[in-house]
Symmetry: C2
Subunit: 236 residues, 2 copies
DNA sequence: AAGTATAATTGTACCGGTACAATTAAACAA
DNA sequence: TTGTTTAATTGTACCGGTACAATTATACTT
């Protein structure tokens, strides 16, 4: 692991262990340089990472402070979107409804930047947090990139498998949000009624080289899905 | 304006003018160093900024490439959330329903980190994109930070006013998303029916020094609100 | 052709430095 | 006490450098 990532983790752990709260001040940059025995720019990179994660904020001339959202019941939108990070102490489980190889339809192929004759894995799951229905997910993986999947892998975190076993790294993603009403079949999966409100998110996940490898459609249970997004900006 | 911001803008403009599309390659780092006559780290900072904005992605050993989402009809979630950036060529207007000074209730005071005896500005608006109803917004500004508002300021971009006229800078924000059903009065503002689905977003905006200065509740028209979020990560 | 080793290209990690602007604390004056 | 100037603190911008890993192109086999 890179130095600045390692340091970022240690600082995050420090905040957790010391139970620091919103506005609490961290050691100053120079002290961190000495403590971790690295140059200023390495500490700066570590802190910048934590800033992007919404853990801290830095104030020139003043110091480095803890930032915290912490509304109970709200999950980070990204934590449920493959980017594991921390779902806190909540337990995430899945019912696997389907894992199969197939040819994509035009829409799926388009979103994945492949041909309709290329193979994809289709995965369908219902996901739960602490036993409560969170969402219904239908996702497609480019088989040329993810050559093998089974129900066991899919029941756990697909992204962990893809990264560790296949050695590919996920780069970035585009998420498309929409609000609408449930269809009858969706309602059944979620234990709700037809026409109940829902949040739909389509996501295209790309590898670091820019190639899409996963296109997924998620339909959320409106009552069990409350999300937090921490934004830094405006960037200029 | 800082060098790296300026360069980021110029590169963004270059991409637009040259009409570069997804996957197109940009000049290599060293050429940019020469072209803008700055050091490597300054170019790197500019590119990192563009990466965070979802404009480009960088691939070690290969080059710098254009990233593009571009689903028609989808707005960046952050562009409607004060962070102006680009709403593309779509026109954003407002009906101002209320601008008044008042004492906050407990919930508002808590979210703003102030006392119920402190003054706040209450602003209520209905917002439109290209003439179509986008959302109903109710927001509260800490009067100690934003000492004056009127209907004219509020009809335009409040954030532009706050930053330029008051000289304070917005640092970061926490957004809380929820899906639910419209109340009768909300439905009326949005031209919808009671119990129609809706996306609700509460946002707390902080200054760079970490102090909250704006707490807002937005209720979106489900049919006219489709959002895109571009994520980079996992960060480690 | 088709695979394989080799070399060139290219961005990232990390160092260590100077200058500076924003904040805060200290000293001072009214 | 209260405001004002001054000094110390502290993070950020920017420079210019070395080393390196991932990618891509080239040359070399088979």
């Amino acid at each position: 692991m890179l130095k600045y990532q390692q340091i970022a983790n240690e600082i995050e752990q420090y905040i957790r262990e010391q139970n620091l709260k919103q506005g609490d001040k961290l050691p100053v940059l120079e002290q961190m340089m000495n403590q971790y025995a690295v140059s200023k720019s390495t500490i700066t990179k570590a802190l910048e990472l934590l800033e992007r994660k919404g853990i801290i904020f830095q104030l020139r001339g003043s110091g480095i402070f803890v930032r915290r959202h912490n509304r109970p019941g709200y999950m980070s939108l990204f934590s449920t979107q493959g980017f594991k990070s921390n779902l806190g102490n909540r337990i995430l489980t899945s019912d696997v409804l389907d894992v199969s190889v197939m040819k994509p339809d035009v829409l799926v192929a388009e979103n994945l930047g492949i041909d309709v004759t290329d193979d994809v894995y289709r995965v369908e799951r219902v996901r739960y947090v602490d036993g409560e229905v969170l969402c219904h997910e239908e996702s497609y993986y480019v088989k040329a990139i993810v050559p093998y999947l089974n129900r066991e892998i899919v029941a756990d975190s697909i992204f962990d498998y893809v990264q560790s076993a296949l050695g590919v790294t996920i780069g970035f993603s585009d998420m498309y949000l929409q609000v609408g009403r449930l269809t009858e079949s969706e309602a059944e999966y979620l234990g709700l009624h037809e026409d109940d409100p829902t949040l739909r998110i389509e996501t295209i996940f790309h590898l670091t080289n820019g190639k899409p490898f996963d296109y997924s459609r998620i339909t959320y249970h409106y009552a069990h899905s409350q999300f937090v997004i921490q934004a830094n900006g405006p960037y200029m």
